[in-house]
């Protein structure tokens, strides 16, 4: 037990994690490319045309994975933040930091693709629907996290301050979600609702899952590359970085 703990803490050192991150990045890039290629093929050529929405529904194959990823990444970041605060490991904060831009990007993509779906389906680019509004707020939370990070010059202070923000945010997400839902249902009798009962075709579901896993692998790959950059920048005065760069150039 004790030895396993020690083992884990070994990888929490940036110096040992740096080369490992590269390996993970390579493997997950390959997985991401393969899965997304399969997913794209299936979403255009295998999945059948929807009898109600025609071809327009194919947006779902990017919309839903992007939505899921955006929410999932925030929770993962909060997990890293909690680890960092409890064990005072630098690497956790770096991991959270390098996931943030990707998470924000997926939140944005969810809104973007949703709008491009809403226009043909509902005739408007935007409605103040509960789910959409809470996704927008999630995007704001990401942006707030990134802004706070970049406003603090001392990286260690930045780590801890932004970890607190993440944890506060993650406590708030369910509250926000339910409040928005309630706000909406009380006001609105007749606006369009997602048609949740529409039984989803199996191929559609599988395609969506493949795309989701593809996005997942993509996120891991990108965050690993980014964490390497962050490690380099933050550890620039340590001897191992200098040796590393001396060896590379």
């Amino acid at each position: 037990m004790a030895s396993r703990l020690v083992n884990w803490f070994k990888f929490s050192s940036p110096a040992t994690f740096y080369p490992l991150a590269r390996k993970i990045a390579v493997v997950s890039t390959i997985i991401a490319v393969v899965l997304i290629a399969i997913g794209l093929y299936m979403s255009f050529f295998v999945a059948p045309t929807d009898y109600k929405q025609g071809e327009g529904y194919r947006i779902i194959f990017v919309h839903v994975p992007a939505s899921w990823m955006s929410m999932f990444i925030y929770v993962v970041m909060a997990g890293w933040a909690a680890l960092g605060l409890i064990f005072n490991t630098r690497l956790s904060a770096m991991m959270a930091q390098s996931l943030a831009p990707t998470g924000a990007m997926f939140a944005f993509l969810s809104l973007w693709t949703g709008s491009f779906w809403g226009k043909p389906m509902w005739g408007t680019w935007w409605v103040w629907d509960a789910r959409i509004t809470s996704e927008l707020i999630l995007l704001f939370l990401y942006l707030g996290y990134m802004a706070l990070r970049s406003a603090i010059d001392d990286p260690r202070r930045g780590d801890r301050a932004s970890a607190i923000l993440l944890l506060v945010g993650v406590v708030n997400i369910p509250i926000i979600y339910y409040s928005v839902q309630w706000w909406n249902t009380l006001h609105q009798g007749s606006t369009i609702k997602f048609n949740e009962e529409s039984s989803m075709d199996d191929t559609m579901l599988i395609t969506m899952l493949i795309m989701t896993f593809g996005f997942w692998a993509y996120s891991i790959a990108v965050s690993m590359v980014r964490v390497r950059a962050v490690i380099l920048e933050r550890e620039r005065s340590s001897s191992w970085v200098r040796e590393q760069l001396g060896a590379e150039t």
């Binding site: 327009g56 990707t102 973007w112 990108v222 590359v225 950059a229 620039r236 760069l245 150039t249």
Partner: protein, 59 residues
């Protein structure tokens, strides 16, 4: 082919969505690569400068 790209009249919406997603997911790694190269260059330069200073000090 044209029919495929027409997407049953939903071309703008479908390609707008997939296009934006593709754009973001291609741009992000590229930007990231630029940034990490920049960081590498800067650190390498810092190291070089420090060594110069050291040499000057010895000379």
């Amino acid at each position: 082919m044209a029919e495929f790209f027409d997407m049953g009249g939903y071309a703008l919406y479908v390609w707008g969505s997939f296009g934006a997603t593709a754009l973001c997911m291609i741009a992000e790694p590229l930007l990231l690569r630029g940034r990490s190269q920049q960081i590498r260059r800067r650190i390498a330069r810092m190291v070089r400068l420090e060594q110069e200073v050291k040499h000057e000090g010895q000379a």
